[in-house]
């Protein structure tokens, strides 16, 4: 017996996802993981490292480079009674499988008159910031969030990385989970072991009075940093983490607007027609008279992401651009 209190264990975002997957697979035989290099290689971003050893090659299933077929196979396996976790290495490659998601997973239940539901979970890395250039740096969460029939999640914290998977697997319908590449090394305290979280609501990550910063995923840490800086300038910023990109938690958006009356939306997607547009539209439709200032969006520049670091950083939302936008709205 020792009276020394152990320091709270820390865990990375990556490990949190791995634990969630392992736990789900231990608990439920129907769950398996499938994707390119999830097994022997250990996962492109090392998320599933070590899982092959525990669960074997049938349940940690390396696939060939065949995005459309293995995503479709995940959908089919879900229809066949399994609870597949399909890892698409990155959102960039998911375009090759988009037909299966849009024209099969998302429509199957409605089109069959309610006969068939598709309990598949599809995980993918998203986002830029690692100098991977134009073809490897997309943020297309907004496209998925456009599609009725899907639930779209974007864990921006360790707790969500750990806790979103279990309810996603319990969800009878297709769930897409976006993991931002810039978050995998995020470190934090280990959440409760059975830390299943709610996957229907947005969450205030920081309370504030003067302005709302609405964001999600990889931009969340930037928004929080910006809020801290704003604090030093005497501007109290509230940070709303959307978490669930479809169906959107409209009430939470309207609540924060009604409370601060000023909104900056931060989204790593391109601005035009991105998810940021939808947030702005909701406000313009349902809370326009709450606004004391126009809405501002801080998004990725409308360019393919360049390789050179300074150029890439210039293209992406940054703490200073968020701060500047907020200051413009508050007027100081």
């Amino acid at each position: 017996m020792s009276d020394v209190i152990a320091p709270p264990e820390t865990i990375t975002y990556r490990e949190a996802i791995r634990e969630a997957m392992s736990e789900a697979m231990r608990r439920d035989d129907r769950v398996f993981l499938m994707g390119e290099d999830v097994g022997r290689y250990g996962g492109c971003y090392a998320v599933s490292k070590g899982m092959l050893e525990e669960f074997g090659p049938e349940r940690v299933r390396d696939t060939p480079l065949s995005e459309s077929a293995f995503v479709g196979a995940g959908i089919g396996a879900a229809l066949g009674g399994m609870r597949p976790i399909v890892e698409v290495m990155t959102v960039n490659f998911s375009l090759l499988a988009l037909d299966q998601v849009v024209n099969t997973a998302a429509v199957y239940q409605h089109m069959s008159g309610g006969q068939f539901n598709v309990p598949v979970v599809i995980r993918m890395a998203t986002g830029a910031g690692r100098q991977l250039a134009a073809q490897h740096s997309h943020s297309l969460e907004g496209w998925y969030a456009h599609v009725p029939g899907l639930r779209v999640l974007a864990p921006g914290t360790i707790e969500d990385a750990r806790g979103m998977l279990a309810p996603a697997l319990d969800d009878p319908d297709p769930v897409i989970i976006f993991e931002h590449v810039g978050l995998y090394n995020l470190q934090g305290e280990l959440p409760e072991v059975d830390g299943s979280v709610d996957i229907t609501t947005a969450q205030i990550r920081r309370v504030g009075q003067d302005i709302s910063v609405v964001t999600y995923g990889g931009s969340l840490p930037k928004a929080i940093d910006a809020a801290r800086e704003l604090d030093e300038l005497g501007i109290s910023a509230e940070v709303l983490d959307l978490r669930v990109l479809r169906p959107l938690d409209k009430e939470a958006i309207l609540r924060t607007v009604s409370s601060t009356h000023r909104v900056v939306i931060v989204d790593e997607g391109w601005k035009t027609g991105g998810i940021s547009a939808e947030i702005a539209a909701i406000i313009a439709e349902e809370a326009v008279w709450e606004l004391d200032a126009p809405i501002e969006r801080v998004c990725t520049a409308e360019v393919p992401i360049p390789y050179a670091r300074h150029m890439e950083q210039a293209a992406l939302p940054q703490v200073p651009t968020i701060v500047a936008a907020a200051r413009r709205l508050v007027g100081r």
């Binding site: 459309s68 077929a69 959908i75 066949g80 319908d173």
Partner: protein, 322 residues
């Protein structure tokens, strides 16, 4: 069933499809059926022969040209017709129409209208069976046109690589809309595609229902026994236009007439008559029975009701909270 009863049953199944679809064509003209309507007339032996060898808990994945498959699988003709009328009693609540017939109770997974789109699904259904150690077969139907789609190749490879219990049924009717096979594939011998995945593959006379059933039985048995996926090229022909919008500019009337001499129903009927299994009276009874059945189907569809508009958003998501 005796052997001969069974053969008569095959004949009746084919006729059921034929007459049902002839009625569909009329009902399309009458604007009772709308949207796209793809007829299977001429190809009846394929679905009939394959479906014959499947078990109740096997799965079927079909295309937009799937009335024949649905009927052969035993879906109620009335519910199919109601579906095409857009009635809520239809097998997909009237939401799918001709291209999207579904039936959970017979494991009939559509009705998939993106060419090639059903193939990965079939692979997944088979994967679920394999992982669950269930000796089931998933039969997936697709046209020869789908062979040009990347998804076909990805699916073939995955099924073969993982030894999955899929029966690939390629309905080679020589045309994909207006595109003849030789303008769609550099190598028109389709079994070579299967060979390039090390998958057993046979060419089958798709106008001969017994040949189809025999090949399908052999293949399905092997699949079920753990022999991995098999590929059947079923050589057939569609007698009608691709859909109701097709003016058929791309093929000669003569060619169609030529093939009609090989009508799978007529051929089989003659064979059975020749062998003394069928006579005019028995044939007449079959015709009557089928006719009545189609009448009943239309009546049921006609009597059907419209889904209330208020339920439009039902079943976008499941009706349980996550």
């Amino acid at each position: 069933m005796t052997d001969n009863e069974h053969r008569l049953h095959l004949l009746e199944q084919m006729l059921r499809i034929r007459r049902f679809e002839e009625r569909c064509a009329q009902l399309y003209q009458a604007e009772k059926i709308r949207g796209f309507l793809h007829l299977y007339i001429g190809e009846e032996a394929v679905a009939t022969g394959v479906m014959e060898v499947l078990e109740p808990d096997d799965a079927i994945v079909a295309t937009y040209r799937e009335h024949g498959h649905a009927l052969a699988r035993g879906l109620d003709p009335g519910l199919i017709m109601a579906e095409m009328f857009g009635k809520v009693e239809g097998c997909s609540r009237g939401r799918g129409g001709s291209m999207h017939l579904f039936d959970a109770s017979t494991r009939f997974y559509g009705g998939n209208a993106i060419v090639g789109g059903g193939l990965p699904l079939a692979v997944g259904l088979a994967l679920a069976d394999k992982l669950s150690h269930r000796p089931r077969v998933t039969a997936v139907f697709f046209g020869e046109g789908a062979v040009a789609e990347g998804e076909f190749h990805e699916s073939m490879n995955l099924a073969a690589l993982w030894d999955l219990p899929v029966l690939f049924c390629c309905e080679n009717n020589l045309y994909a809309m207006g595109t003849a096979l030789e303008r769609s594939e550099s190598q028109t011998q389709l079994t070579l595609k299967a060979a390039s995945y090390e998958m057993p593959a046979w060419e089958v006379d798709g106008m001969d229902v017994e040949a189809v059933a025999e090949a399908a039985r052999k293949a399905a048995e092997s699949v079920r026994a753990g022999g991995g996926p098999h590929f059947l090229e079923l050589r057939t022909y569609r007698f009608r236009a691709h859909s109701m919008f097709d003016p058929e500019l791309y093929r000669a009337r003569d060619e169609v007439e030529e093939w009609k001499h090989r009508d799978p129903i007529e051929q089989f009927r003659e064979r059975l008559i020749g062998e003394g299994v069928l006579d005019d009276e028995a044939w007449g009874e079959i015709e009557d029975r089928v006719h009545e059945e189609v009448d009943r189907a239309v009546a049921l569809a006609d009597a059907g009701t419209w889904e209330p508009v208020e339920s439009l958003t039902r079943f976008v998501y499941s009706e349980v909270a996550p």
